[in-house]
Symmetry: C2
Subunit: 283 residues, 2 copies
Protein backbone atom coordinates (compact mmCIF):
# COMPACT_ATOMS: atom_id res chain seq x y z
CA UNK A 1 0.00 0.00 0.00
CA UNK A 2 1.24 3.51 -0.70
CA UNK A 3 0.69 6.20 1.85
CA UNK A 4 -1.46 8.66 -0.01
CA UNK A 5 -2.18 10.49 3.20
CA UNK A 6 0.35 12.96 4.41
CA UNK A 7 0.53 13.12 8.15
CA UNK A 8 2.35 15.88 9.95
CA UNK A 9 3.88 15.45 13.38
CA UNK A 10 2.60 17.98 15.93
CA UNK A 11 4.20 16.83 19.19
CA UNK A 12 6.33 14.08 20.71
CA UNK A 13 6.65 13.02 24.37
CA UNK A 14 8.55 10.06 25.68
CA UNK A 15 6.46 8.09 28.18
CA UNK A 16 7.05 4.73 29.88
CA UNK A 17 9.90 4.04 27.49
CA UNK A 18 7.62 4.55 24.48
CA UNK A 19 6.32 7.60 22.67
CA UNK A 20 3.17 9.69 22.70
CA UNK A 21 2.85 11.54 19.39
CA UNK A 22 0.24 13.82 17.87
CA UNK A 23 -0.27 14.16 14.13
CA UNK A 24 -2.46 16.29 11.90
CA UNK A 25 -3.64 15.34 8.44
CA UNK A 26 -6.19 16.28 5.81
CA UNK A 27 -9.00 13.73 6.07
CA UNK A 28 -10.58 12.69 2.78
CA UNK A 29 -13.50 11.16 4.62
CA UNK A 30 -14.24 14.12 6.85
CA UNK A 31 -13.24 16.76 4.36
CA UNK A 32 -11.24 18.77 6.90
CA UNK A 33 -7.98 18.79 8.82
CA UNK A 34 -7.91 16.33 11.71
CA UNK A 35 -5.59 15.57 14.59
CA UNK A 36 -5.00 12.21 16.21
CA UNK A 37 -2.64 10.88 18.88
CA UNK A 38 -0.77 7.59 19.02
CA UNK A 39 1.07 5.89 21.86
CA UNK A 40 3.84 3.63 20.58
CA UNK A 41 5.17 1.25 23.22
CA UNK A 42 8.91 0.60 23.67
CA UNK A 43 8.70 -2.70 21.76
CA UNK A 44 8.55 -0.81 18.43
CA UNK A 45 12.18 0.29 18.97
CA UNK A 46 13.27 -3.28 18.42
CA UNK A 47 11.34 -3.54 15.17
CA UNK A 48 8.38 -5.40 16.59
CA UNK A 49 4.99 -4.78 14.96
CA UNK A 50 2.49 -4.18 17.73
CA UNK A 51 -1.31 -4.47 17.74
CA UNK A 52 -3.44 -1.33 18.03
CA UNK A 53 -6.16 -0.36 20.46
CA UNK A 54 -8.38 2.40 19.06
CA UNK A 55 -9.82 4.64 21.76
CA UNK A 56 -12.94 6.74 21.09
CA UNK A 57 -13.54 9.60 23.51
CA UNK A 58 -16.73 11.13 24.76
CA UNK A 59 -18.61 14.38 24.23
CA UNK A 60 -16.46 17.56 24.11
CA UNK A 61 -13.18 15.59 24.12
CA UNK A 62 -10.28 15.70 21.69
CA UNK A 63 -7.39 13.27 21.14
CA UNK A 64 -5.84 14.55 24.37
CA UNK A 65 -8.19 13.59 27.23
CA UNK A 66 -7.47 9.87 27.22
CA UNK A 67 -3.76 10.26 26.57
CA UNK A 68 -3.32 12.71 29.45
CA UNK A 69 -5.68 11.27 32.03
CA UNK A 70 -6.35 7.56 31.58
CA UNK A 71 -3.06 6.19 32.88
CA UNK A 72 -3.05 3.56 30.13
CA UNK A 73 0.60 3.73 29.07
CA UNK A 74 2.13 1.69 31.88
CA UNK A 75 0.26 -1.46 30.89
CA UNK A 76 0.40 -0.71 27.15
CA UNK A 77 4.19 -0.44 27.46
CA UNK A 78 4.37 -3.64 29.46
CA UNK A 79 2.19 -5.62 27.05
CA UNK A 80 3.42 -4.02 23.82
CA UNK A 81 0.28 -2.35 22.52
CA UNK A 82 -0.14 0.86 20.51
CA UNK A 83 -3.09 3.10 21.33
CA UNK A 84 -4.65 5.48 18.81
CA UNK A 85 -7.01 8.27 19.86
CA UNK A 86 -8.82 10.24 17.15
CA UNK A 87 -10.68 13.46 17.75
CA UNK A 88 -14.42 13.16 18.46
CA UNK A 89 -15.64 14.95 15.33
CA UNK A 90 -14.60 16.98 12.33
CA UNK A 91 -13.63 20.49 13.36
CA UNK A 92 -12.75 23.94 12.14
CA UNK A 93 -14.19 26.85 10.26
CA UNK A 94 -16.66 25.76 7.63
CA UNK A 95 -17.59 22.64 9.60
CA UNK A 96 -21.22 22.69 10.77
CA UNK A 97 -21.74 23.15 14.49
CA UNK A 98 -24.43 23.59 17.12
CA UNK A 99 -24.63 25.59 20.32
CA UNK A 100 -25.10 22.44 22.40
CA UNK A 101 -22.10 20.50 23.66
CA UNK A 102 -23.86 17.33 22.53
CA UNK A 103 -24.22 18.05 18.81
CA UNK A 104 -21.77 19.16 16.12
CA UNK A 105 -18.09 19.76 16.80
CA UNK A 106 -16.89 17.56 19.67
CA UNK A 107 -19.97 15.35 19.29
CA UNK A 108 -19.65 13.30 16.09
CA UNK A 109 -21.27 10.19 17.63
CA UNK A 110 -19.24 7.93 15.30
CA UNK A 111 -21.97 7.79 12.64
CA UNK A 112 -22.09 8.69 8.95
CA UNK A 113 -24.44 11.67 8.76
CA UNK A 114 -26.96 11.60 5.93
CA UNK A 115 -28.66 14.92 6.67
CA UNK A 116 -27.61 18.45 5.68
CA UNK A 117 -25.70 20.37 6.87
CA UNK A 118 -23.96 17.54 8.74
CA UNK A 119 -23.40 15.12 5.88
CA UNK A 120 -20.61 17.20 4.32
CA UNK A 121 -18.14 16.50 7.18
CA UNK A 122 -19.68 14.26 9.86
CA UNK A 123 -18.62 10.83 8.62
CA UNK A 124 -16.90 9.67 11.78
CA UNK A 125 -17.95 6.04 11.33
CA UNK A 126 -16.06 5.75 8.05
CA UNK A 127 -13.13 7.73 9.45
CA UNK A 128 -12.70 5.44 12.46
CA UNK A 129 -13.42 2.17 10.64
CA UNK A 130 -11.53 2.81 7.41
CA UNK A 131 -9.47 5.95 6.85
CA UNK A 132 -7.75 6.16 10.22
CA UNK A 133 -6.64 2.49 10.41
CA UNK A 134 -5.42 2.76 6.82
CA UNK A 135 -3.24 5.72 7.80
CA UNK A 136 -2.03 4.08 11.00
CA UNK A 137 -1.20 0.78 9.35
CA UNK A 138 0.68 2.49 6.52
CA UNK A 139 2.59 4.92 8.74
CA UNK A 140 3.57 3.12 11.95
CA UNK A 141 5.16 -0.21 12.94
CA UNK A 142 1.85 -1.87 13.80
CA UNK A 143 0.29 -5.21 12.96
CA UNK A 144 -3.18 -5.60 11.46
CA UNK A 145 -4.56 -6.73 14.82
CA UNK A 146 -7.06 -4.20 16.16
CA UNK A 147 -9.12 -3.71 19.27
CA UNK A 148 -11.47 -0.85 20.09
CA UNK A 149 -12.61 0.87 23.25
CA UNK A 150 -14.13 4.14 24.35
CA UNK A 151 -15.94 6.21 26.94
CA UNK A 152 -19.55 7.41 27.02
CA UNK A 153 -20.32 8.60 23.44
CA UNK A 154 -17.07 6.84 22.53
CA UNK A 155 -18.21 3.69 24.33
CA UNK A 156 -21.29 3.75 22.11
CA UNK A 157 -18.94 4.26 19.15
CA UNK A 158 -16.65 1.37 20.10
CA UNK A 159 -19.50 -1.07 20.71
CA UNK A 160 -21.53 -0.17 17.63
CA UNK A 161 -18.45 -0.19 15.37
CA UNK A 162 -17.19 -3.54 16.66
CA UNK A 163 -20.64 -5.11 16.42
CA UNK A 164 -20.95 -3.94 12.82
CA UNK A 165 -17.42 -5.06 11.94
CA UNK A 166 -16.77 -8.20 13.97
CA UNK A 167 -13.93 -9.34 11.71
CA UNK A 168 -11.98 -6.10 12.02
CA UNK A 169 -11.62 -6.18 15.82
CA UNK A 170 -10.32 -8.87 18.17
CA UNK A 171 -12.16 -7.40 21.14
CA UNK A 172 -14.19 -4.39 22.23
CA UNK A 173 -14.58 -2.64 25.56
CA UNK A 174 -16.25 0.45 26.93
CA UNK A 175 -16.48 2.62 29.98
CA UNK A 176 -19.89 4.12 30.74
CA UNK A 177 -21.12 3.70 27.16
CA UNK A 178 -24.40 5.06 25.82
CA UNK A 179 -25.74 1.52 25.48
CA UNK A 180 -29.08 2.27 23.88
CA UNK A 181 -28.79 5.67 22.17
CA UNK A 182 -32.08 5.33 20.31
CA UNK A 183 -33.81 5.48 23.71
CA UNK A 184 -31.58 8.15 25.31
CA UNK A 185 -31.84 11.97 25.04
CA UNK A 186 -28.24 12.38 23.79
CA UNK A 187 -28.71 9.72 21.12
CA UNK A 188 -32.14 10.86 20.02
CA UNK A 189 -30.96 14.43 19.54
CA UNK A 190 -27.82 13.47 17.64
CA UNK A 191 -29.38 10.73 15.51
CA UNK A 192 -32.29 12.97 14.54
CA UNK A 193 -29.84 15.64 13.38
CA UNK A 194 -27.32 13.36 11.68
CA UNK A 195 -29.54 10.54 10.40
CA UNK A 196 -32.98 12.11 10.11
CA UNK A 197 -36.33 11.33 11.72
CA UNK A 198 -36.70 7.83 10.28
CA UNK A 199 -35.65 5.68 13.18
CA UNK A 200 -35.02 2.67 10.95
CA UNK A 201 -31.72 4.35 10.03
CA UNK A 202 -30.76 4.54 13.72
CA UNK A 203 -30.79 0.81 14.47
CA UNK A 204 -27.33 0.09 13.02
CA UNK A 205 -25.78 2.52 15.46
CA UNK A 206 -27.42 1.18 18.61
CA UNK A 207 -25.23 -1.23 20.59
CA UNK A 208 -28.18 -2.94 22.29
CA UNK A 209 -30.01 -3.51 19.00
CA UNK A 210 -26.81 -4.74 17.34
CA UNK A 211 -25.92 -7.05 20.21
CA UNK A 212 -29.37 -8.65 20.14
CA UNK A 213 -28.98 -9.70 16.52
CA UNK A 214 -25.20 -10.24 16.30
CA UNK A 215 -24.13 -13.48 14.59
CA UNK A 216 -20.34 -13.16 14.88
CA UNK A 217 -19.28 -12.37 18.44
CA UNK A 218 -16.49 -9.93 19.33
CA UNK A 219 -15.59 -10.48 23.01
CA UNK A 220 -16.89 -7.43 24.90
CA UNK A 221 -16.17 -5.89 28.29
CA UNK A 222 -18.15 -2.97 29.74
CA UNK A 223 -17.56 -1.17 33.03
CA UNK A 224 -19.99 1.34 34.46
CA UNK A 225 -19.83 3.51 37.56
CA UNK A 226 -22.76 3.12 39.93
CA UNK A 227 -22.64 6.80 40.97
CA UNK A 228 -22.57 8.10 37.39
CA UNK A 229 -24.96 11.04 37.03
CA UNK A 230 -25.84 9.92 33.49
CA UNK A 231 -26.48 6.28 34.36
CA UNK A 232 -30.25 6.05 34.32
CA UNK A 233 -31.27 8.58 31.71
CA UNK A 234 -28.48 8.34 29.16
CA UNK A 235 -26.41 5.17 29.54
CA UNK A 236 -28.79 2.25 30.25
CA UNK A 237 -26.32 -0.62 30.73
CA UNK A 238 -29.20 -2.89 31.78
CA UNK A 239 -30.52 -2.74 28.22
CA UNK A 240 -27.18 -3.93 26.87
CA UNK A 241 -27.04 -6.65 29.51
CA UNK A 242 -30.52 -7.84 28.50
CA UNK A 243 -29.55 -7.82 24.80
CA UNK A 244 -26.48 -9.94 25.54
CA UNK A 245 -28.57 -12.40 27.52
CA UNK A 246 -31.12 -12.80 24.73
CA UNK A 247 -28.37 -13.63 22.21
CA UNK A 248 -25.99 -15.44 24.56
CA UNK A 249 -23.42 -12.77 23.68
CA UNK A 250 -20.01 -12.92 25.48
CA UNK A 251 -20.33 -9.65 27.39
CA UNK A 252 -18.55 -8.96 30.68
CA UNK A 253 -20.63 -6.20 32.24
CA UNK A 254 -19.84 -4.79 35.69
CA UNK A 255 -21.32 -1.94 37.72
CA UNK A 256 -18.80 -0.41 40.16
CA UNK A 257 -20.35 1.11 43.23
CA UNK A 258 -19.42 4.72 44.00
CA UNK A 259 -17.63 5.50 40.73
CA UNK A 260 -18.73 8.40 38.53
CA UNK A 261 -18.44 9.35 34.85
CA UNK A 262 -14.92 10.85 35.07
CA UNK A 263 -11.40 9.76 34.21
CA UNK A 264 -10.95 9.03 37.93
CA UNK A 265 -13.15 6.01 37.19
CA UNK A 266 -11.56 5.14 33.83
CA UNK A 267 -8.02 5.25 35.23
CA UNK A 268 -9.05 2.89 38.05
CA UNK A 269 -9.96 0.13 35.59
CA UNK A 270 -8.11 0.91 32.35
CA UNK A 271 -5.37 -1.62 33.05
CA UNK A 272 -7.98 -4.37 33.22
CA UNK A 273 -9.19 -3.27 29.78
CA UNK A 274 -5.68 -3.18 28.33
CA UNK A 275 -5.09 -6.71 29.65
CA UNK A 276 -8.44 -7.91 28.29
CA UNK A 277 -7.59 -6.62 24.82
CA UNK A 278 -4.02 -7.95 24.95
CA UNK A 279 -5.33 -11.40 25.73
CA UNK A 280 -7.65 -11.40 22.69
CA UNK A 281 -5.20 -9.64 20.37
CA UNK A 282 -2.69 -12.41 21.10
CA UNK A 283 -5.03 -15.13 19.83
Amino acid sequence: MTIDHLIENVSVNKSFGGWHKQYSHQSKTLNCKMRFAIYLPPQVSSGEKVPVLYWLSGLTCSDENFMQKAGAFRMAAELGMAIVAPDTSPRGEGVADDEGYDLGQGAGFYVNATQAPWNRHFQMYDYVVNELPEIIEASFPVSLKRAISGHSMGGHGALSIALQNPKRYSSVSAFSPICNPIQAPWGKKAFTAYLGKDQAAWQNYDASELMKRAKTFVPAKVDQGGADDFLVEQLKPETLGAAAKVNDYPLELAIHEGYDHSYYFISSFIEQHISFHAQHLAK
Copy 2:
Protein backbone atom coordinates in the same frame (compact mmCIF):
# COMPACT_ATOMS: atom_id res chain seq x y z
CA MET B 1 -6.67 20.61 68.41
CA THR B 2 -9.88 22.32 67.34
CA ILE B 3 -10.54 22.88 63.69
CA ASP B 4 -10.72 26.62 63.46
CA HIS B 5 -10.59 26.41 59.71
CA LEU B 6 -13.79 25.68 57.89
CA ILE B 7 -13.25 23.66 54.77
CA GLU B 8 -15.95 23.21 52.19
CA ASN B 9 -16.17 20.20 49.93
CA VAL B 10 -16.18 21.08 46.22
CA SER B 11 -16.05 17.69 44.49
CA VAL B 12 -15.72 13.96 45.16
CA ASN B 13 -14.59 11.19 42.80
CA LYS B 14 -13.98 7.58 43.71
CA SER B 15 -10.67 6.35 42.30
CA PHE B 16 -8.76 3.10 42.83
CA GLY B 17 -11.03 2.25 45.75
CA GLY B 18 -10.19 5.54 47.46
CA TRP B 19 -11.40 9.10 47.04
CA HIS B 20 -10.23 12.23 45.25
CA LYS B 21 -11.77 15.28 46.89
CA GLN B 22 -11.46 19.02 46.38
CA TYR B 23 -12.03 21.54 49.15
CA SER B 24 -12.09 25.31 49.39
CA HIS B 25 -11.30 27.33 52.50
CA GLN B 26 -10.45 30.83 53.62
CA SER B 27 -6.70 30.88 54.22
CA LYS B 28 -5.53 33.00 57.14
CA THR B 29 -1.97 32.88 55.85
CA LEU B 30 -2.73 33.87 52.28
CA ASN B 31 -5.60 36.16 53.11
CA CYS B 32 -7.83 34.77 50.35
CA LYS B 33 -9.97 31.78 49.45
CA MET B 34 -7.94 28.73 48.42
CA ARG B 35 -8.69 25.33 46.93
CA PHE B 36 -6.79 22.12 47.53
CA ALA B 37 -7.25 18.48 46.55
CA ILE B 38 -6.68 15.34 48.57
CA TYR B 39 -6.50 11.70 47.56
CA LEU B 40 -7.53 9.39 50.37
CA PRO B 41 -6.57 5.76 49.77
CA PRO B 42 -8.98 2.87 50.51
CA GLN B 43 -7.20 2.10 53.81
CA VAL B 44 -8.92 5.08 55.49
CA SER B 45 -12.26 3.25 55.19
CA SER B 46 -11.07 0.77 57.79
CA GLY B 47 -10.09 3.54 60.20
CA GLU B 48 -6.38 3.48 59.41
CA LYS B 49 -4.49 6.76 59.73
CA VAL B 50 -2.36 7.14 56.62
CA PRO B 51 0.76 9.26 56.00
CA VAL B 52 0.55 12.23 53.64
CA LEU B 53 2.56 13.13 50.57
CA TYR B 54 2.32 16.85 49.79
CA TRP B 55 2.63 17.60 46.07
CA LEU B 56 3.63 21.07 44.87
CA SER B 57 2.86 21.83 41.24
CA GLY B 58 4.67 23.98 38.72
CA LEU B 59 4.04 27.32 37.04
CA THR B 60 0.45 27.97 35.87
CA CYS B 61 -0.88 24.82 37.58
CA SER B 62 -3.70 24.43 40.11
CA ASP B 63 -4.55 21.55 42.44
CA GLU B 64 -5.88 19.64 39.42
CA ASN B 65 -2.90 18.95 37.13
CA PHE B 66 -1.22 16.33 39.28
CA MET B 67 -4.45 14.67 40.37
CA GLN B 68 -5.68 14.30 36.79
CA LYS B 69 -2.46 13.49 34.96
CA ALA B 70 0.20 11.95 37.18
CA GLY B 71 -1.23 8.46 37.52
CA ALA B 72 -0.23 8.36 41.19
CA PHE B 73 -3.34 6.85 42.71
CA ARG B 74 -2.73 3.20 41.81
CA MET B 75 0.41 3.02 43.94
CA ALA B 76 -0.90 5.39 46.63
CA ALA B 77 -3.92 3.09 47.00
CA GLU B 78 -1.72 0.02 47.12
CA LEU B 79 0.66 1.47 49.71
CA GLY B 80 -1.91 3.40 51.73
CA MET B 81 -0.77 6.98 51.27
CA ALA B 82 -2.80 10.19 51.10
CA ILE B 83 -1.73 12.86 48.62
CA VAL B 84 -2.46 16.55 49.10
CA ALA B 85 -2.11 19.06 46.26
CA PRO B 86 -2.46 22.76 47.06
CA ASP B 87 -2.84 25.47 44.45
CA THR B 88 0.37 27.17 43.28
CA SER B 89 -0.40 30.65 44.62
CA PRO B 90 -3.05 32.82 46.19
CA ARG B 91 -5.69 33.76 43.64
CA GLY B 92 -8.69 35.91 42.98
CA GLU B 93 -9.74 39.52 42.67
CA GLY B 94 -7.70 41.77 44.89
CA VAL B 95 -4.70 39.43 44.77
CA ALA B 96 -1.70 41.03 43.06
CA ASP B 97 -0.81 39.63 39.66
CA ASP B 98 1.54 40.08 36.73
CA GLU B 99 1.13 39.68 32.98
CA GLY B 100 3.83 37.00 32.90
CA TYR B 101 2.94 33.37 33.50
CA ASP B 102 5.98 33.15 35.78
CA LEU B 103 5.05 35.79 38.36
CA GLY B 104 1.95 36.41 40.46
CA GLN B 105 -1.11 34.18 40.34
CA GLY B 106 -0.12 30.61 39.43
CA ALA B 107 3.50 31.37 40.30
CA GLY B 108 3.85 31.70 44.06
CA PHE B 109 7.28 30.01 44.15
CA TYR B 110 6.60 28.70 47.69
CA VAL B 111 8.25 31.69 49.38
CA ASN B 112 7.04 34.28 51.90
CA ALA B 113 7.02 37.56 49.98
CA THR B 114 8.41 40.56 51.81
CA GLN B 115 7.90 43.16 49.08
CA ALA B 116 4.74 45.13 48.18
CA PRO B 117 2.35 44.45 46.57
CA TRP B 118 3.11 40.74 46.91
CA ASN B 119 3.54 40.51 50.68
CA ARG B 120 -0.18 40.88 51.40
CA HIS B 121 -1.07 37.45 49.96
CA PHE B 122 2.01 35.63 48.66
CA GLN B 123 3.01 33.61 51.73
CA MET B 124 3.03 30.21 50.10
CA TYR B 125 5.93 28.94 52.21
CA ASP B 126 3.96 29.39 55.44
CA TYR B 127 0.81 28.05 53.82
CA VAL B 128 2.47 24.81 52.69
CA VAL B 129 4.62 24.29 55.78
CA ASN B 130 2.12 25.27 58.46
CA GLU B 131 -1.46 26.17 57.65
CA LEU B 132 -2.24 23.45 55.12
CA PRO B 133 -0.85 20.51 57.17
CA GLU B 134 -2.68 21.86 60.22
CA ILE B 135 -5.94 21.76 58.28
CA ILE B 136 -5.23 18.35 56.77
CA GLU B 137 -4.22 16.79 60.07
CA ALA B 138 -7.28 18.19 61.85
CA SER B 139 -9.76 17.27 59.12
CA PHE B 140 -8.78 13.89 57.66
CA PRO B 141 -7.78 10.44 58.97
CA VAL B 142 -4.06 11.00 58.47
CA SER B 143 -1.02 10.42 60.63
CA LEU B 144 1.59 13.09 61.36
CA LYS B 145 4.02 11.45 58.94
CA ARG B 146 4.71 13.75 55.99
CA ALA B 147 6.64 13.58 52.75
CA ILE B 148 6.87 16.25 50.07
CA SER B 149 7.37 16.26 46.32
CA GLY B 150 6.80 18.52 43.35
CA HIS B 151 7.47 19.44 39.75
CA SER B 152 9.54 22.29 38.31
CA MET B 153 8.69 25.37 40.45
CA GLY B 154 7.06 22.85 42.79
CA GLY B 155 10.21 20.72 42.79
CA HIS B 156 12.08 23.80 43.95
CA GLY B 157 9.38 24.28 46.57
CA ALA B 158 9.54 20.70 47.81
CA LEU B 159 13.34 20.65 48.05
CA SER B 160 13.73 24.05 49.67
CA ILE B 161 10.91 23.40 52.14
CA ALA B 162 12.22 19.95 53.15
CA LEU B 163 15.76 21.26 53.48
CA GLN B 164 14.56 24.07 55.75
CA ASN B 165 12.33 21.74 57.79
CA PRO B 166 14.14 18.41 57.95
CA LYS B 167 12.18 17.24 60.98
CA ARG B 168 8.79 17.80 59.38
CA TYR B 169 9.34 15.49 56.40
CA SER B 170 10.44 11.86 56.18
CA SER B 171 11.58 12.25 52.58
CA VAL B 172 11.55 14.65 49.65
CA SER B 173 11.48 14.14 45.91
CA ALA B 174 11.18 16.23 42.80
CA PHE B 175 10.67 16.01 39.07
CA SER B 176 12.55 18.54 36.96
CA PRO B 177 13.02 20.96 39.87
CA ILE B 178 14.46 24.46 39.58
CA CYS B 179 17.56 23.37 41.48
CA ASN B 180 19.34 26.69 41.71
CA PRO B 181 16.73 29.44 41.33
CA ILE B 182 19.08 32.22 42.39
CA GLN B 183 21.02 31.53 39.17
CA ALA B 184 18.02 30.89 36.86
CA PRO B 185 15.88 33.46 34.99
CA TRP B 186 12.61 32.19 36.52
CA GLY B 187 14.02 32.34 40.03
CA LYS B 188 15.74 35.69 39.63
CA LYS B 189 12.59 37.32 38.33
CA ALA B 190 10.36 35.87 41.05
CA PHE B 191 12.78 36.36 43.94
CA THR B 192 13.47 39.97 42.94
CA ALA B 193 9.76 40.69 42.96
CA TYR B 194 8.81 38.71 46.07
CA LEU B 195 11.96 39.08 48.19
CA GLY B 196 13.63 42.25 46.90
CA LYS B 197 16.99 42.95 45.33
CA ASP B 198 19.09 41.88 48.32
CA GLN B 199 20.17 38.42 47.30
CA ALA B 200 21.04 37.47 50.89
CA ALA B 201 17.31 36.95 51.40
CA TRP B 202 17.21 34.52 48.47
CA GLN B 203 19.62 31.92 49.85
CA ASN B 204 17.11 30.19 52.12
CA TYR B 205 14.94 29.37 49.14
CA ASP B 206 17.66 27.89 46.95
CA ALA B 207 17.83 24.08 47.06
CA SER B 208 21.48 23.94 46.00
CA GLU B 209 22.57 26.47 48.63
CA LEU B 210 20.50 24.71 51.31
CA MET B 211 21.80 21.28 50.38
CA LYS B 212 25.40 22.44 50.60
CA ARG B 213 24.99 23.54 54.20
CA ALA B 214 22.36 21.05 55.45
CA LYS B 215 23.13 19.42 58.80
CA THR B 216 20.08 17.16 59.14
CA PHE B 217 19.50 15.08 56.03
CA VAL B 218 16.07 14.34 54.55
CA PRO B 219 16.46 11.50 52.01
CA ALA B 220 16.02 13.08 48.56
CA LYS B 221 15.23 11.72 45.10
CA VAL B 222 15.29 13.85 41.94
CA ASP B 223 14.42 12.79 38.41
CA GLN B 224 15.06 14.97 35.39
CA GLY B 225 14.27 14.49 31.71
CA GLY B 226 17.24 14.76 29.39
CA ALA B 227 15.14 16.30 26.58
CA ASP B 228 13.57 18.94 28.84
CA ASP B 229 13.57 22.33 27.07
CA PHE B 230 14.21 24.09 30.39
CA LEU B 231 17.07 21.86 31.51
CA VAL B 232 20.11 24.02 30.89
CA GLU B 233 18.84 27.54 31.46
CA GLN B 234 16.30 27.08 34.26
CA LEU B 235 16.69 23.76 36.06
CA LYS B 236 20.44 23.09 36.56
CA PRO B 237 20.37 19.64 38.23
CA GLU B 238 24.17 19.49 37.99
CA THR B 239 24.36 22.29 40.57
CA LEU B 240 22.24 20.29 42.99
CA GLY B 241 24.32 17.20 42.32
CA ALA B 242 27.50 19.13 43.09
CA ALA B 243 25.99 20.54 46.29
CA ALA B 244 25.05 17.03 47.45
CA LYS B 245 28.56 15.80 46.71
CA VAL B 246 30.19 18.61 48.73
CA ASN B 247 28.03 17.80 51.77
CA ASP B 248 27.77 14.03 51.31
CA TYR B 249 24.01 14.53 51.11
CA PRO B 250 21.84 11.41 50.42
CA LEU B 251 20.50 12.50 47.02
CA GLU B 252 19.40 10.07 44.31
CA LEU B 253 19.66 12.11 41.12
CA ALA B 254 18.91 10.61 37.71
CA ILE B 255 18.73 12.08 34.21
CA HIS B 256 16.37 10.16 31.90
CA GLU B 257 17.27 10.36 28.25
CA GLY B 258 14.53 11.51 25.88
CA TYR B 259 12.00 12.64 28.50
CA ASP B 260 10.65 16.19 28.51
CA HIS B 261 9.11 18.55 31.09
CA SER B 262 5.55 17.19 30.82
CA TYR B 263 3.31 14.88 32.82
CA TYR B 264 4.16 12.18 30.26
CA PHE B 265 7.52 12.15 32.05
CA ILE B 266 6.14 12.46 35.57
CA SER B 267 3.63 9.63 35.09
CA SER B 268 6.43 7.35 33.85
CA PHE B 269 8.30 7.60 37.15
CA ILE B 270 5.73 8.68 39.76
CA GLU B 271 5.29 5.16 41.11
CA GLN B 272 8.99 5.01 41.93
CA HIS B 273 8.56 8.25 43.89
CA ILE B 274 5.50 6.97 45.75
CA SER B 275 7.44 3.82 46.68
CA PHE B 276 10.47 5.87 47.76
CA HIS B 277 8.33 7.98 50.07
CA ALA B 278 6.41 4.96 51.42
CA GLN B 279 9.67 3.32 52.37
CA HIS B 280 10.83 6.35 54.37
CA LEU B 281 7.40 7.14 55.82
CA ALA B 282 7.28 3.61 57.24
CA LYS B 283 10.46 4.10 59.25
